[in-house]
């Protein structure tokens, strides 16, 4: 089968690999029909995530058709069209039982701080991902969800990560009616978080980035205000000023470890790797939120540590909330929003690329060429 193959920082290709096999009685093999490149895949692509091994296949956003099931799989059957949440969850550990499907304790032996994630380095369990024609899906009784027959597959594939992560980012903000919400990062997740902030009763949603075409896209898609931080002398002062010198009620970090905008953070986080990436967006979020405000974090950071103004978290009485999205918990509500036409996930897709052209797809997304927002890869075996 054809699959993506990571060869080192900024180098990927497709090549023929062995077919995945059932390795556990609750496994399924899924024939992939759509798979995306996620913004967090770029952290792997750029060599920012420790224990990303050459030969790995990335991809945690995918949908497909069940081709084979293990002897204990009962919730899905061969031929079902399923969307597969990006987190691998057993459904039985005490974390899964309490709805923390992104924190499963039985899917990753290599690190305790993160549950298993498809195609996201050995730090997240060493699973091959869905940027391939076929993929092994563990715990097929828990994760895979049958796609409603009337749902567009382009909507379905974005329900595996982008929509739930953006929604949970807003949900964790604890937004109250009338709140002002600032979202850092106008990538697919940030745009979705800004869009979802309205569901919780925000009165004003502001998105901050430095790429004009993405800000314009966000303005139209999420109906929010959009500002380029490169046009400001100091983004924190700017945000204080436009919130009546009070600070935003809620700030959401949708950027993570590859933020721009602060020379010291960039030098220590991206050039010399003295911290787990540049925490500029988180720093701005903490410093821009009001006293007693809430900062929600879904941007991905590496495991060791980051320089953030934790003293201000204490002195301002800020509540920090963060987690990997609990996709399975959110799916029923989000499927309803999509089917009712309240959310339009596929509106984020700007590029559809054959799986064979994955090297160019990664480069286009990484270098933000051709006004790229979201890339969907289509394997040739999709039909």
């Amino acid at each position: 089968m054809l699959a993506m193959n990571y060869r080192g920082p900024y180098r990927v290709r497709t090549e023929q690999r062995p077919m995945p096999e059932i390795l556990h009685p609750e496994d399924a093999i899924v024939r992939v029909t759509r798979t995306c490149i996620c913004g967090s895949d770029l952290h792997l692509y750029h060599g920012m995530v420790p224990d990303t091994r050459v030969g790995s296949t990335f991809g945690h956003e995918f949908i497909g058709i069940i081709e084979e099931i293990g002897p204990l799989v009962t919730n899905v059957k061969i031929g079902d069209q399923v969307l597969v949440p990006f987190n691998i969850a057993c459904g039985r550990c005490n974390f899964c039982k309490q709805g923390l499907y992104g924190n499963c304790h039985e899917s990753n032996p290599m690190a305790t701080a993160v549950g298993g994630i498809f195609g996201y380095s050995h730090t997240a369990g060493g699973f091959n991902g869905g940027q391939a024609e076929y993929v092994r899906v563990p715990y097929a009784n828990t994760g895979p969800t049958v796609i409603p027959p009337d749902m567009d597959p382009d909507d379905a594939v974005l329900l595996t990560d982008v929509v739930p992560t953006g929604y949970q980012a807003a949900e964790m903000g604890g937004i109250k009616e009338g709140d002002t919400v600032v979202v850092f990062g106008a990538g697919p997740i940030g745009i979705m978080a800004a869009r979802c902030a309205w569901f919780f009763g925000a009165a004003r949603v502001i998105i901050i980035d430095h790429i004009d075409y993405r800000l314009e896209f966000a303005r139209n898609y999420a109906k929010c205000e959009a500002y380029n931080f490169k046009s400001m002398e100091d983004p924190v002062v700017f945000l204080k000023k436009i919130t009546d010198w009070y600070g935003a009620d809620v700030c959401i970090d949708c950027v993570g470890c590859e933020a721009e905008g602060n020379a010291l953070q960039t030098f220590t986080g991206k050039i010399t790797l003295m911290q787990a990436g540049a925490a500029t967006a988180l720093q701005w979020a903490i410093n821009s939120v009001k006293k007693g405000g809430i900062v929600s974090v879904v941007g991905v950071y590496g495991p060791p540590f980051n320089y953030v103004p934790i003293g201000n978290v204490l002195n301002k009485g800020i509540t920090l909330r963060a987690n990997q999205a609990s996709v399975k918990r959110l799916l029923p509500k989000l499927i309803e929003h999509v089917q009712a036409g309240r959310l339009d996930p596929k509106g984020l897709i700007t590029h559809k690329v054959p799986l064979e052209e994955i090297s160019d797809a990664y480069h286009i997304f990484s270098a933000k060429l051709d006004e790229c927002i979201k890339v969907v890869l289509i394997p040739s075996t999709k039909s």
Partner: protein, 161 residues
Amino acid sequence: METKNFDYKNIPGWGMDIDERNEPTYPMKNYTGDDHKRLDYEKPPQQPADVEILKSNERPALSAVFGNASPPSGLSGMIRRYAFKHSEDRYRHWIPLILADRINAWEGILDDFKSGTMPNIPAERGWKSELKYNRAALTKKILVTGVISLVLLSYLTRKKR
């Protein structure tokens, strides 16, 4: 888990101010109290380990399932084995893993040659799309690299003479 041999519930005031609504993880977490049972839950069947799996020393055993992609090998594998002797709290865990990743990229190139594959690095880096959408920047990059290489080369050859 209960504190052994100690009836903490007799401490004056124990539990008086419990507020079920004071749950900052809501609605992410449907708090059931099962956390206090720790690792006591119905375990899924265990996946057999048919390749070398490096395990975090912060857990007692392998998780019930795991990925079997790219087991550790070569020099990078030796470094990874060293890293996994240390907990996720230690730099001695993460810094060696990053070093191993960089070495692994070179091992990948050698493996390509060994298997008779010539790695097409410009194609792997997506230069076709760079040429299509960002031709000016690519041209500039090539020119700057060319000029720097020429200057270095002429400096080195002049020094030899």
